[in-house]
Symmetry: C4
Subunit: 208 residues, 4 copies
């Protein structure tokens, strides 16, 4: 239960910062990716020792495939993440009351590619900095994970919106920043990217 | 006494950077939150081994409720923080002499919500990275704490001014960036957020 | 083989972020250097324990001269880096389809100087934070390496384009951001800078 | 001799990044402080294990007063720092050839105050994160030191130019960014701030 509370809190703050920073007026403009990557970083540092600090169903999938998350935890982790994302998205809309929000209309092929490739990057980083034997005990795992999201947001924010996280995609849809018809793009591409990262991790880290 | 000097110095620099970066002209514009989160980070790293590096009555409350600050220290910590904030605020106005400063006029309910939720985030991060047994000895605690303030400032700077710290709220009031009539919003919401964080910390970290 | 896969992945993401952030519209504007330095940082943290996380022929040259890379690995590392850079550059152009790209036309002497001096800085930092005995086991090596690139990009982005990496120079040429006629500037200056860094490392670190 | 080479290199890159980022056109605009704080951070990480990574006569003074720098090293450290700063400043002007540079004309009292207070902050951070027994072996010292300069530059860049370092002040004077008649402001205020930091360090850290 402790794990699920921590996953709820972390994903809640991730979406709350996304909503408050991306929706204008009163947002963070070109610095939104810095704020968003940073909130992921601090939540990973705050909750990593309890739940692992996933806050992302694609990460949970990758960590499970890599053998560091119990199968019975997987659905509850994902549920807690989606719940946290949903509550935060409703709260962000409430606080931003009245803002004009337009859903992005990305090119489908580019969005699929961008979401797949950068979710791979995120989960590849997570597995290497937070689950590999050779990097155990390091102090940089949160910085590496959170700032991967930041770099991705600068790179593909204008291509796909840069969810690289199905819970974030659901939150963006609730807030109206992405359309319901495009939700499948994120879910498919993000989970596929996470699964590929687990496979590449196993190839490049060998037997542990 | 050493502790109180360190708390004074840290809160002094936090408010001095806030005043010099937020008051225009000559401020830091959209990069003010980066500078503000950073000065908190460096002061936590510089003073953490002496006083714990609170620089915030809501943090002192949360750390005390979590059992890592002596009751007799609490009022003196808070006094040192408020004194440091006040002296720095007067100095910032002096240096910025002549600048036209207008107090923000936030929506009360949104400001209460924003201050409560993000003070919770800050103290939740502090307790987990700086007082939990499982994260002891890490090198990221200052980065996590300072950059939580940075992310919060981008998210709710336009909603409430983002004090998430009663000493900062007093400093903002002295500088004229916030009105005296709104001071209760911060004091109530920040202390409540800090107290909730201590409760959630105990639930999610179990008996230590 | 694991090493080469990791070098391919890291250099791939470095160039993909460069292409997506530098080519406008939809790029990161003045924040491109932050995103670019960050993707290098996270890839160093993700792959350092496997391949050393070079992602740069000038780094591979410097690490080899300093005695921490096997001679037989050098050509394969460089090949993997150039391949990763090339594939990512083609992908970036595909995603940015239709953008008007103009090759920079730097002053040759200034570009040679800037590329030589800042490649020296990058490799000097790499050797000291990632191969020196006295800094072994630190958690800051990725931050130091990635953010050296960030600082360099702000300093000499307008002077030479700031490749400080022959694989990046090849990628910039493929994307049309740099002209084929200027490619020699980068290759000569970057390899010379890396070699000098190895010499200075040996002088300043003594016999290990 | 190794120490002096490292001090020369670090101060050289600090001034080179300052010159290239601050002098427009082709500079880093509002992101110059980020680049400048970052180059200090990476040079501290790269050279700290050799020379201590001062790159600043005010730091050398403070570290000597605190008892962690030999008296006979002090003049040579300062000489290496001033030499590195001077050579880099001449190089920056050469690369920026033709740029129109106007010296700042700060209010003298505010500039003295700002330089004194923020040099105190920098040296207070240096002594606590890099020379205190209780923080020995940490991985954050370079981040804390470099980013103190970054926060200071956002706070007082428009007040005094934010040298907080006599070698930087000499470099700014050589580049024409500050006038010769104002050089005393920096030298007096910076050395006084560094000396005060050493005294406060001793009071707050007790006998070690």
């Amino acid at each position: 239960m402790k794990n699920y509370i921590v996953e709820f809190i972390g994903t809640f703050f991730l979406l709350l910062v996304i909503g408050l920073c991306v929706i204008e007026p009163g947002g963070a403009g070109m610095l939104a990716p810095l704020a968003i990557g940073t909130i992921l970083m601090v939540m990973v540092y705050a909750g990593g020792h309890i739940s692992g600090g996933h806050y992302n169903p694609a990460v949970t999938l990758g960590v499970w495939l890599r053998g560091k998350c119990k199968a019975k935890d997987v659905p509850f982790y994902m549920l807690a993440q989606v719940l946290g994302a949903s509550v935060a998205s409703l709260l962000a809309i409430k606080i931003k009351g009245g803002a004009l929000i337009l859903a992005a209309s990305p090119d489908t092929v580019n969005a699929l590619l961008a979401e797949f490739i950068f979710t791979f990057a995120l989960v590849y980083v997570v597995l290497n900095v937070a689950t590999a034997k050779k990097t155990a005990g390091n102090s940089y795992y949160g910085l590496a994970i959170g700032f991967t999201l930041m770099a991705a947001a600068y790179a593909i924010g204008s291509v796909s919106g840069c969810a690289i996280n199905p819970a974030v995609a659901i939150g963006l849809t609730i807030m109206g920043l992405s359309s319901l018809g495009n939700l499948w793009i994120f879910i498919v591409a993000n989970l596929a990217g996470g699964a590929l990262a687990a496979a590449v991790f196993k190839i490049t880290n060998g037997q542990e």
